[in-house]
């Protein structure tokens, strides 16, 4: 009983479909021309039928066959209709494929709808009841999101802001908007990947930046403040809360804010804040140097950064003009200078990369940044001329009064050094630009030195100035060198405390200084002698003098004095008699660095060879004149001797050196096989060079390296040890360590 009912249901189920599908007076076309078909199946079937027809006898009744159908497909957006032919046994997927080849719409984005149903791919046209002259609708898709909660939060915020723009009064609007924004930012994935990019794309796709800017320019009361606080909250969160890996994504959103706010006004405070945030984010964000079509995901284009450079350059030029006319004017803002540097860095990097690949790329590709390159050069010339005028004006204002008086501080002057640094960076990109810059600096040498002494800070980098040291003087060089030391603190809690017994001065000082962590010494020293009440700078200065006298005492076998100038020292090659001599050289390096840091003159000086080794330079024959005058004289005679005489082997010299060590003489070869190699006129230069290297460099290399290591421990950045000595002359160091020039000449 159950089976017949099911059959009846099945039959009734399809009956209305059949009734619905009957087209009143519909046309059924027969035997269409096969040449117009683009479907291979149709061609095949039709060819078969034609062969059958030809095989039949004339006049016979033709066999009935299924016919192809003609139907309409209404397209996606414009709504125009196309005619398609197919066979009833074709699948819906084949129709999709033909639409793809015809219109270029991907298969998975097409939806064909007929009589209220969406056709499935695996069905045939007959199963879908498609008849002649059927009307199919092609519809696209608008998909939902992978991050529904983020979309909800952003939608709530956008809707709330829309209501505020329409003039509605919302209770506690600012708190709500900020809360929603914080919720959105807290959802952000912490690792930079496609998911994070999708998250920030939600912020852009929902037009949140445009809506907030619309609120900012809204005429209703309170809306401007609400928008201002919300945008600043977003910018601060981008800079502080989110990880650096996400700064590339944030930079694109902030760039959108900048573009919108620039229309409000170039001097709008919110725009300036937004621009600064964008500049700081660029330090970690990736920058793409391609054109607009190469829109790499998560990267900011150079073309987007360029307008900011123009803006800030114009602002700087205008402010420099003001500072020329009126010296008491404020001059460029520190924010402007900082932003200018931040935006200039990726632009210069891009131009440098373009120039690197210039030879290997086609000519037209080089023009990607042609506009930027041209503009930057013009900007360089303008800024250099402007700075030149500023420095001249500064020189004039100083001419009428004493150079070293401290009453003439003008606020505009503090930014000249930063601008000069940027000009130096730009000059590297163009030929001939560096000569112009150093020409200006040479002419304005005295003013430049004054700027360095007054305004150079520890946080800046000034290594560029010392590439051409002739534009500096002792005062400026000393100032730059002292910038490498940490600042001595005033708080007693942070000082490194020492309690020294005078009778055990060297031993106890070694324990306090050599065993300490370098960081604990950066704050400074607090010195006290046992059984004495005195403390303060005087006691510290006395301690430095006593310790240096002990370290450089020849009886301790650490350093050797020069024969002609007993105040100059170099490491003792025989210091290895003391088992801890290398530790003591580190200790000595630290003490010298601490003395310089505390500006205490300890009454000793370095030999030139020792100084040059600390600077990482090469030792020549003229450099050993003070350390060993006898060796210097001997080498000079060897080099000046007549060639015939030295070739006759009258001196009996070979490539060896005799060393007297602890009462016994030892022969050291200067090079492999040196014993059997006679010195002649051709190799005497090499002989002298090897002799000096062995005598002054090789024998004390360990001592020098340990001294340098100890010295570097006290610097803020230990990598700057060589640079410290390179930035000074030997005379500069003499003045800093030993004392005044007058004392030196005595």
């Amino acid at each position: 009983m159950h089976r017949p009912d099911r059959a009846t249901n099945f039959h009734i189920y399809f009956l209305p479909f059949f009734l619905q599908s009957i087209s009143l007076f519909s046309v059924i076309a027969l035997n269409q021309n096969p040449n117009s078909f683009s479907h291979s199946g149709g061609l095949s079937v039709n060819s078969t039928r034609m062969r059958k027809d030809e095989a039949k006898a004339p006049g016979a009744m033709p066999q009935q066959q299924r016919s192809h159908i003609q139907f309409f497909v209404r397209m996606m957006s414009a709504g125009n209709t196309i005619v398609m032919q197919a066979f009833p046994e074709d699948t819906v997927k084949s129709i999709h494929e033909r639409i793809q080849s015809m219109k270029g719409i991907p298969l998975f984005e097409q939806r064909l709808i007929y009589r209220g149903k969406q056709l499935q791919w695996e069905q045939t046209l007959a199963e879908c009841f498609i008849q002649n002259d059927a009307n199919l609708q092609l519809v696209g898709r608008m998909r939902s999101t992978e991050h529904p909660q983020a979309w909800q939060v952003i939608n709530d915020m956008v809707s709330l802001v829309y209501r505020l723009c329409r003039g509605e009064t919302v209770h506690d609007a600012l708190k709500t908007v900020k809360g929603l924004m914080t919720s959105y930012l807290n959802m952000t994935p912490r690792i930079d990947n496609d998911s994070a990019s999708g998250y920030f794309q939600i912020f852009m796709s929902s037009s949140a930046p445009a809506v907030l800017v619309m609120l900012y320019v809204s005429p209703y009361a309170g809306n401007k403040d609400c928008a201002d606080s919300s945008v600043r909250h977003f910018l601060s969160s981008c800079r502080n809360i989110l990880s650096k890996a996400l700064h590339g994504q944030c930079a694109r959103v902030v760039l959108e804010f900048c573009k919108l706010l620039r229309r409000v006004g170039s001097h709008d405070p919110l725009y300036l804040f937004c621009r600064s945030t964008f500049g700081s984010l660029l330090e970690t964000a990736g920058v793409s140097y391609g054109s607009g079509s190469d829109n790499v995901k998560g990267l900011v284009l150079i073309q987007d950064i360029f307008p900011f450079v123009c803006e800030l350059a114009n602002s700087l030029l205008r402010d420099l003009d003001l500072s020329i006319v009126s010296p008491s004017a404020a001059g460029p803002l520190s924010n402007d200078v900082g932003d200018f540097s931040a935006f200039l860095l990726p632009l210069r990097t891009g131009i440098k990369e373009q120039q690197a690949v210039k030879d290997s790329m086609a000519q037209d590709k080089h023009h990607k940044l042609a506009e930027e390159i041209e503009y930057l050069h013009g900007l360089y010339v303008q800024l250099l001329n402007k700075i030149d005028q500023c420095l001249q004006k500064m020189d004039q204002s100083l001419a009428g009064q004493e150079m070293m008086e401290g009453d003439n501080l003008y606020p505009a002057w503090s930014h000249y050094l930063s601008i000069l640094k940027e000009l130096y960076q730009i000059s590297k990109l163009y030929d001939g630009a560096e000569e112009k810059l150093w020409g200006v600096l040479t002419r304005q040498r005295s003013v430049l030195c004054l700027l360095i002494v007054r305004y150079a800070k520890r946080t800046d980098e000034h290594q560029w100035i010392l590439e051409h040291r002739y534009v500096t003087n002792f005062e400026s060089r000393r100032h730059l060198a002292m910038m490498m030391f940490p600042e001595v603190k005033e708080d007693y809690e942070e000082l490194h405390e020492m309690l020294i017994d005078r009778s055990q001065l060297l031993t106890e000082s070694f324990e306090y200084i050599a065993r300490a962590e370098p960081d604990s010494l950066h704050a400074g020293l607090f010195m006290e002698f046992k059984n004495e009440e005195a403390t303060g700078p005087g006691v510290l200065r006395e301690w430095f003098l006593l310790v240096c006298q002990a370290i450089f005492n020849p009886q301790n076998a650490l350093f050797v004095a020069c024969p002609n100038d007993r105040r100059r020292f170099f490491p003792n090659p025989a210091s290895k008699v003391h088992p801890l001599h290398l530790e003591y050289f580190s200790f000595a390096g630290r003490v010298i660095a601490l003395a310089l840091m505390h500006k205490v003159q300890v009454g000793i000086a370095f030999d030139r060879a020792f100084f040059l080794q600390l600077a990482g330079n090469y030792i020549a024959i003229k450099d050993i004149r003070d350390a060993d005058p006898y060796l210097y004289t001997s080498c000079k005679q060897i080099l000046d001797m007549d060639a015939d005489l030295i070739d006759s082997d009258a001196l009996g010299l070979t490539f060896v050196r005799e060393v007297e060590e602890l009462g016994q003489r030892k022969v050291v070869e200067l090079c492999p096989g040196g014993k059997n190699l006679a010195v002649n006129s051709k190799n005497r230069d090499k002989y002298v060079d090897l002799l000096i290297q062995d005598h002054f460099v090789t024998s004390i290399s360990e001592q020098v390296s340990h001294f340098a290591k100890g010295f570097a421990d006290i610097l803020s950045n230990s990598k700057l040890q060589q640079y410290f000595f390179q930035s000074l002359d030997l005379e500069d160091l003499d003045t800093m360590l030993h004392g005044s020039v007058a004392m030196f000449s005595l």
Binding site: I12, L15, I28, Q131, G140
Partner: protein
């Protein structure tokens, strides 16, 4: 209890089978379906705290949540669901109709208004839905209109499986569907009506399509197709942006405008050309008579005649016009605005912009009540058609109708054949002669108003008596729809978020049953998954709509 009442109503309907009775019952049902809130309307502080339930977003299912919320605002859809479930109440509901049962329960909960924020879960419904759709993944990013079509399709499959005909004999069923011009029995009509009510529900709209060839002045075909969702294209100013000030009525006008279809084969034109060709070439008289009498497309063998091998033919000689119109208005009109298009770079782009839509929509001007072809240009040939129809309308009789039907059949049953162009002069001359000598055939479209619920057989051959009755019907002046839901999409074509604006009726204490629609205020809510807040009518009308749901305003 409500199910029993609905079943009793439907039994009464089948017995009575009168338009007045059905109208009365429908009015009564609408009154009962209204939300029974009795507090005063002027209590604004209490009204502001009212909320409708939100739906939980389980995984990327905001596209389904907006469809469910939109359907919850369609009142006749819920009554339709309850009616179907009530009629099949004797069977095992959980086993046979899990989706309909879960959907009815969820929509009933979504229709309740309370002072507290409530969040419902569509999980049960999604489970029932995902078991039957192999290609539609509910846990990934999807399209809301696509989810809507799949939902209706699944409901019909469930309803079709539970349908029990009252007549147990197959012979009776077959007899009732004969294409003989005999009076249709009442029982058979009620069976048909009952099935249509169960199967189609309130989404029972029908699109009419007329295909005419202006070259041979013949009506090629008339098609009637059911639609659930009307896909309209926005009016574009150029290929990539929407025209400013585009309205929904503009989209509807663009939808029903007559469109020139290229590359369509008109078999009537081919046969006329073949006759002319053979006449000019002095072909065989037997073949000529055979072509003239060709009336069966299934066995049409004219293309294979020996003398027609060299007949030059191209589809460009046919000037085919196709025009759409609404043949029957559904009780719930769902309109989808097709915002996705393919740009010149091969990317799918979403058309942004606001398309203004009215709260009250009149679709009478887009229905099949006029004659002739509506084009933007004046079509001269449509005037004789109108005149001929007006003349014939005054004297309806049996013999004329029979002759008309026979002529229409004959003129539409020709097929086209191969295309080659040998002599343009001969073809041009032939066509001029053919056009002059061809008599114009009248248009025999019957006025099929969607509001005539007593006539359901739009796709059948109608009897002479029915034709007489329908010709005498006075056409209605308006066909009005009320906006009940708006679905909005944020973002791009590949990824975005769906929200919905829906309306809820809150009755005032002064309930007047005669014109209660005028008294009942419509309150609108904006729902983003589980976030619900009240909005104004202006806020709803200013949204960028993707889906619009209109419900028909019943006429008393």
């Amino acid at each position: 209890m409500r199910f029993d009442e609905n079943a009793m109503n439907w039994i009464g309907a089948t017995v009575g089978d009168l338009v007045g009775t059905v109208g009365a019952i429908l009015s009564l049902k609408d009154t009962k379906v209204a939300i029974p809130f009795t507090f005063a309307a002027d209590n604004s502080s209490f009204e502001k705290s009212l909320f409708v339930p939100g739906l939980q977003n389980l995984q990327n299912n905001c596209f389904l949540n907006v469809v469910l919320q939109a359907l919850a605002s369609c009142f006749c859809f819920q009554s339709f669901l309850h009616g179907v479930i009530g009629e099949c109440g004797s069977k095992d509901l959980d086993e046979n109709m899990p989706l309909a049962l879960a959907l009815a329960t969820l929509l009933e909960e979504l229709s309740s208004v309370s002072a507290e924020r409530v969040t419902l879960s569509p999980r049960k419904m999604m489970l029932a839905m995902s078991n039957n759709i192999p290609n539609f993944n509910l846990t990934s990013q999807q399209d809301a209109a696509e989810a809507f079509l799949h939902l209706l399709c699944l409901l019909r499959e469930e309803f079709g499986g539970c349908y029990a005909p009252k007549m147990s004999s197959l012979a009776d069923i077959f007899a009732s569907n004969n294409r003989i011009l005999t009076p249709i029995q009442r029982d058979c009509q009620s069976e048909q009506e009952r099935w249509q009510q169960l199967f189609l529900g309130p989404f029972d709209g029908i699109l009419g399509s007329r295909l005419t060839c202006q070259s041979c002045s013949s009506l090629i075909s008339i098609n009637f197709e059911h639609f659930d969702c009307l896909p309209l294209s926005p009016v574009l100013s150029d290929t990539s942006s929407m025209r400013v000030g585009c309205t929904l009525v503009d989209c509807l006008k663009q939808f029903i405008v007559a469109e020139h279809v290229e590359n369509y084969r008109c078999s009537h034109c081919w046969h006329n050309a073949a006759i002319k060709y053979l006449s000019i070439m002095e072909g065989n008289e037997v073949e000529l008579k055979m072509i003239r009498r060709c009336s069966d497309p299934e066995i049409c063998n004219c293309r294979k005649m020996y003398n027609l091998d060299k007949l030059p033919w191209s589809n460009r000689f046919s000037h085919t016009l196709k025009q759409l119109s609404i043949a029957r208005c559904p009780r719930i009109l769902c309109i989808q605005l097709k915002r996705v298009y393919m740009n010149v770079f091969g990317e799918l782009v979403k058309l942004q912009g606001h398309i203004s839509f009215p709260l009250i929509l009149d679709v009478l001007s887009f229905m099949t009540t006029r004659l002739g072809v509506k084009t933007q240009d004046i079509d001269v040939q449509s005037l004789p058609l109108n005149l001929k129809y007006n003349r014939r309308n005054f004297f309806p009789n049996h013999s004329d109708l029979q002759s008309e039907i026979s002529t229409l059949k004959f003129s539409g049953l020709y097929g086209a054949t191969r295309e080659q162009i040998n002599s343009d002069g001969v073809i041009d001359d032939g066509f001029v002669s053919s056009t002059n000598g061809q008599a114009l055939h009248s248009d025999t479209v019957f006025p099929c108003s969607g509001s005539s619920e007593s006539i359901h057989s739009d796709t059948h051959m109608q009897s002479i008596d029915q034709v007489d009755v329908s010709c005498n019907l006075v056409p209605q002046e308006t066909c009005l729809y009320q906006l009940v839901s708006v679905v909005e999409h944020f973002g791009k074509a590949g990824s975005g978020h769906y929200t919905v604006y829906r309306s809820v009726r809150v009755e005032s204490s002064e309930d007047v049953s005669d014109d209660y629609l005028n008294q009942t205020p419509m309150r609108w809510f904006c729902i983003s998954d589980s976030q619900v807040h009240a909005v104004s009518v202006e806020g709803v009308l200013s949204s960028e709509a993707s889906l619009l749901f209109y419900e028909r305003i019943p006429r008393n």
